[in-house]
């Protein structure tokens, strides 16, 4: 049960930034455009960030990672559920690494 000063600082800053954004929306509610470029931009951020996160991981991985990513995607599309998709990906990468 320890926390390093660096981790504590990171967590507190993460928390402050997140809370400021949550409260900020309420404060500027009447001035915020509900559609148009700004709204579309905010809507697209989380997906683009996740795509940016996984692209190098898959591109720099080998056959096992690429195949397991495909299996993860298939299981997610079939089940619409995070846990089975993650589990299938992990099991797939484990088995393929054993085989190749």
């Amino acid at each position: 049960m320890t926390v390093s000063p660096e981790a504590l600082l990171a967590i507190v800053l993460m928390a402050l930034a997140t809370y400021a954004i949550r409260a900020g929306g309420l404060v500027i509610a009447d001035k915020l455009p509900r559609d148009g470029f700004f709204a579309a931009w905010l809507r697209h951020i989380p997906g683009a960030v996740l795509a940016a996160l996984i692209a190098p991981a898959i591109a720099t991985g080998g056959i096992a990672e690429a195949a397991a990513a495909a299996i993860t995607a298939l299981v997610f599309v079939a089940t619409r559920s995070l846990f089975p998709a993650m589990a299938a990906g992990v099991i797939a990468v484990y088995l393929i690494r054993l085989a190749v």
């Binding site: 049960m1 320890t2 926390v3 000063p5 660096e6 981790a7 504590l8 990171a10 967590i11 993460m14 928390a15 930034a17 997140t18 954004i21 949550r22 409260a23 929306g25 309420l26 500027i28 509610a29 915020l32 148009g36 470029f37 709204a39 579309a40 931009w41 905010l42 809507r43 697209h44 951020i45 989380p46 997906g47 683009a48 960030v49 996740l50 795509a51 940016a52 996160l53 996984i54 692209a55 190098p56 991981a57 898959i58 591109a59 990672e65 397991a68 990513a69 993860t72 995607a73 997610f76 995070l82 846990f83 998709a85 993650m86 990906g89 992990v90 099991i91 797939a92 990468v93 484990y94």
Partner: protein
């Protein structure tokens, strides 16, 4: 209808929490995965409790884990905070739509309630607001239920994950990529998502080669989302013209 308007704040708090229970189950599953990954990333049990308890924003916490280092001296604090803020920027739109819950001047209660706003109970509360006058207590009650589910599940995940000694030997190093991929696919709303995702991925690949560190995540996210917004507003203008 009349029952809702006459209900006390406490009733509304409980009703929000009750209606949120099915959502809590999926939040807990997601939290369990986050907890296991947090252990792999080197977060202590206390750090897991602090992060889940103070930040309380799932997708940004997943992104933070990807940047986390088990060596505190190497922790890229600035990159983590910027990445978390960028992922959470969308909350501006969510909480702005909750403004009608608080008629008149914003008091301390309204600001306190914002801590409880998440994607899930925001959707639930906006649904209630469409049906009639809604109490802020509904938002807070549903938020508290999600808060407890998130905090509890991430803690259990962290404790259970500690039993695994060598994650890479079981393919668990791939759990990050698999989880992010599933999270991403879950965000699919239509063809308009394709461009920001592909541009974001391409920009990240280029940035990862050119720039030291983990800034490729933020660069890819910003470039991809701007491309998506640009294309979306342009195609709408074309249709109108």
């Amino acid at each position: 209808m009349s029952r809702r308007q006459n209900g006390s704040a406490l009733d509304e708090l409980a009703r929000g929490a009750r209606l949120c229970l099915p959502v809590c189950v999926s939040v807990a599953a997601y939290g369990l995965v986050w907890g296991v990954l947090a252990g792999q990333a080197g977060l202590s049990v206390l750090e897991v409790l602090l992060m889940s308890g103070l930040v309380f924003a799932g997708s940004s916490q997943f992104v933070a884990l990807d940047l986390w280092t088990s060596n505190p001296a190497a922790l890229p604090i600035a990159a983590i905070v910027v990445a978390v803020a960028v992922v959470n920027l969308r909350y501006v739109m969510l909480t702005a739509t909750l403004r009608p819950l608080f008629p008149g001047r914003l008091g301390p209660g309204a600001f306190a309630a914002m801590f409880a706003a998440t994607d899930e109970n925001w959707a639930l509360t906006v649904g209630e607001m469409k049906r009639g006058p809604t109490s802020p207590a509904f938002l807070v009650g549903s938020g508290l239920a999600i808060y407890l589910a998130w905090l509890g599940a991430t803690l259990v995940g962290r404790l259970a994950g500690a039993a695994i000694d060598d994650p890479a030997a079981y393919g668990l190093d791939f759990a990050f990529t698999a989880t992010f991929l599933a999270l991403l696919l879950g965000m699919w709303r239509g063809k308009a998502d394709l461009v920001p995702w592909l541009v974001g991925a391409a920009a990240a690949l280029v940035a990862a080669r050119l720039i030291e560190g983990n800034w490729y995540i933020i660069i890819g996210g910003l470039v991809g989302s701007l491309a998506g917004a640009f294309l979306e507003t342009r195609s709408r203008r074309d249709r109108l013209a």
